[in-house]
């Protein structure tokens, strides 16, 4: 993903942790502005940022108050950081309009995943055209193209691909696919499903490996370049 113009406001009072978070976000291509106390955070205009990472325990103005102040005028996504694993804190922060929270300690990857989840544009599942990397589906016309080249699929293969493409990156259970994709008239088993998947992979050519087998769950359509 390209985040070159994604500005993130980080509000964290601890020097070491703040420095680490800022570095990790910068490595992901974010432009990070780091403020070290609540009063400085209040001086910022949240409008200037795509996302705010806000520590709750701050000198000066308390994190909840910063959040309240931001929410008075803006709905920029806010990710709360807290050392206290307290339900009341989480409930209160969400009530005040926080979008997500992360409890310390956390792995840098965790933080990045949370940030990206908040910035990811929701997939328009009901739109007719679904694009996953080099793969393109047109639901109403029941057409599939790889790099713009049409691929001919059977009804079951198309439904299978569509079911996975509606939630790219998320594993779908084998049993659910068998129930929803296979022809109920015929005695379709999960083994039959595997056969269809294997044919689908071949037909998709270079995109074939995107249809991943997920241990004990079923299948998943990887978004290209996804590291999940």
């Amino acid at each position: 993903m390209n985040h070159v113009n994604d500005r993130i406001l980080l509000v964290e009072d601890d020097e070491k942790l703040g420095d680490q978070i800022a570095r990790h976000l910068a490595e992901q291509g974010f432009e990070v502005t780091w403020r070290k106390d609540g009063d400085a955070a209040l001086q910022e205009d949240p409008e200037d940022y795509r996302l705010v990472v806000l520590d709750l325990m701050l000198p000066g103005t308390y994190g909840m108050d910063v959040l309240k102040s931001y929410r008075r005028t803006h709905d920029v996504p806010v990710l709360i950081l807290s050392a206290r694993n307290e339900t009341t804190d989480k409930v209160r922060a969400l009530e005040l309009g926080a979008d997500d929270y992360l409890t310390k300690p956390f792995w840098p990857e965790e933080l990045v995943a949370r940030v990206q989840a908040r910035l990811r544009r929701p997939v328009l599942q009901r739109s007719d055209r679904i694009r996953v990397g080099r793969l393109e589906l047109r639901e109403s016309a029941r057409e599939v193209a790889v790099d713009g080249e049409p691929v001919s699929l059977t009804r079951v293969e198309f439904d299978l691909l569509l079911a996975l493409a509606r939630r790219p990156g998320v594993a779908v259970e084998r049993a659910w696919l068998a129930d929803h994709v296979l022809d109920p008239e015929r005695t379709g088993t999960e083994r039959t499903l595997d056969v269809h998947v294997s044919r689908l992979r071949k037909k998709l050519g270079p995109c074939g490996p995107l249809v991943r087998t997920v241990w004990s769950i079923g299948y998943r359509l990887d978004t290209e370049g996804s590291n999940a």
């Binding site: 949370r114 004990s216 998943r220």
Partner: protein
């Protein structure tokens, strides 16, 4: 303020206004009686001939006459009559003055005298006592209905009386002091309104109120008696309260082990009983708190011990890494991995300490919040993916298309699922798999955590479902794979009305299965 003092003050504060009220009421009654008597006297006199006399000779009631008691009167002069000694029968007439009969007689006599002498009407009647006692003072003045004097010589009506009568009152009265004697002055409208004598103003000295001190003394004695009675009655009460106070103090000092003596069946014994009940409640509460504290203290001590082990391993690893880097050697990936794992383990352990503290303190019912289970699964998977990846273990998940909620505390539920996933990652082989599957039926959800690790010895399976962690055995970190995390997961599940079951998978692996109700949509 002591109880006795408060009682005494209350009685005094109540009794003083009461006594004052009684005195006032009595004085008022007396004054009314005096007023009525004077009014009756004047009206009777005027009816009995006074009116006639007055209308014939208005000057008679114009000069501030003083009439004194019987037997002590000397009539000094009658205007127009030069020699009183020539009127021998007058002194007879003046006998019995002081009552209405006597006065009437005087008036009639004067008329007769005037008629007999054939001289002009007596214009003024002056009677003087050689040494007039003020308590026998009596005076009478006549006025017209419009309150002007009956003759030019009549003095103006006293203002207070005039104002009241002009206001329409039938009578008016005031009391004033003269020579140390209280004098009642009344203005009285006569039953008639015509003629120069329609309104009379009369003055009479009030008799001294000789019985007032008796009443006051009576009141004082009554108050004193009541006070004494209260003091006597309050004595035992105060003594019992003091004893109770001592008992309570002793009980408090003994940590409420000693009880307070309960005697009798009144409010004070109720108080003692209530105190005993409160003491029992406090003792129970203290015992609970102490037990909880003891559990936590032991847990903190054990956890400190547990955190010190990974911390020591971590320090060792970091130290070895530094040595290698210093020597320009290649860093051992296994040492880095191990360090990451130890740090991750410490994080979980401390969160579990926090969870145990909450579980110890929390009420049994935690199902008042709503928890988004899809979100929870994603968070838990993301939490453990980084550490799993260092060992080549894939952590995958699947969640339904629709929202799935559970009732409960989000922190505790997340910790429970996290513990199970951590367990699955931790005891798996490198390159293994862990999957978290959330499935929802109409009114129930199932959350399964599967791994393809070595599983658990069949005889150990039931022990995984035990709620309370058993100190030594359960805390063995790597032994048979039972950790404190699973005990917490079991406890949390139970308190949320969920079941947590474990089963081995074929050919190898473990399935942990949370199952519970979905709350009806809010």
């Amino acid at each position: 303020m002591s109880l006795r003092l408060r009682l005494a003050l209350t009685i005094l504060l109540t009794a003083i206004p009461l006594a004052a009220g009684l005195v006032w009421l009595r004085a008022d009654t007396r004054r009314r009686a005096q007023e009525r008597s004077l009014e009756d006297l004047v009206v009777t006199v005027m009816r009995a001939g006074g009116r006639r006399m007055c209308e014939s000779f208005p000057d008679v009631f114009s000069g501030g006459h003083a009439l004194f008691g019987p037997g002590s009167v000397q009539v000094k002069s009658i205007r127009g009559v030069e020699h009183l000694e020539d009127m021998p029968d007058l002194s007879e007439l003046l006998e019995g003055l002081g009552d209405e009969k006597g006065l009437g007689k005087v008036l009639e006599g004067l008329q007769e005298l005037q008629a007999r002498e054939g001289q002009g009407a007596p214009t003024s009647l002056g009677m003087h006592h050689p040494d007039p006692p003020p308590e026998h003072h009596f005076g009478l003045w006549a006025y017209r209905a419009d309150l002007s004097g009956a003759s030019e010589r009549t003095p103006a009506m006293p203002p207070a009386i005039r104002v009241a009568l002009a206001g329409g009152d039938a009578t008016a009265s005031e009391i004033f002091e003269r020579s140390g004697v209280s004098v009642l002055r009344m203005g009285i409208r006569m039953p008639w309104t015509d003629g120069p004598c329609a309104v009379m103003v009369a003055e009479r000295a009030l008799p001294a109120s000789d019985d007032d001190p008796v009443v006051l003394w009576g009141l004082a004695i009554l108050c004193g008696g009541v006070l004494l009675a209260v003091f006597l009655a309050a004595g035992p009460i105060v003594r019992r309260i003091r004893r109770l106070k001592g008992d309570v103090r002793r009980a408090a000092q003994s940590g409420y082990a000693e009880r307070v003596a309960v005697e009798g069946g009144d409010e004070i014994s109720d108080l003692a009983r209530t105190f005993n009940e409160a003491g029992d409640a406090i003792r129970d509460h203290v015992a609970t708190v102490e037990a909880r504290e003891e559990t936590l203290r032991r847990f903190v001590a054990d956890t400190t011990h547990d955190v010190m082990i990974p911390l020591t391993v971590l320090q060792g690893n970091l130290s070895a890494l530094r040595d290698r880097v210093d020597a320009g050697e290649v860093v051992d990936p296994a040492e880095v991995r191990s360090s990451l794992e130890e740090a991750h383990y410490m994080g979980s352990l401390i969160h579990n300490l926090d969870a145990v503290a909450k579980l110890e303190a929390a009420p049994m019912d935690l199902t008042n919040g709503r928890v988004d289970l899809r979100e929870l699964v994603v968070r838990v998977v993301e939490r453990h993916r980084p550490i799993a990846r260092t060992r080549g273990i894939e952590v995958e998940f699947t969640v339904p298309d629709e929202d799935v909620e559970a009732s409960g505390d989000v922190t505790l539920l997340e910790q429970a699922v996290s513990n199970v996933v951590h367990n699955a990652v931790r005891y798996n082989e490198d390159g293994g798999h862990v999957s978290v599957l959330l499935e929802a039926a109409q009114d129930r959800f199932v959350l399964r955590v599967l791994d393809d690790g070595p599983g658990v010895a069949p005889e150990s399976l039931p022990r995984l479902a035990e709620r309370r962690f058993r100190s030594a055995e359960a805390r063995t970190r790597r032994g048979d794979g039972l950790g404190i995390g699973l005990a917490i997961a079991q406890d949390v599940a139970e308190r949320h009305g969920l079941t947590l079951r474990f089963a081995n998978l074929a050919p190898h692996g473990l399935e942990a299965r949370f199952e519970g109700p979905r709350p009806s949509p809010a």
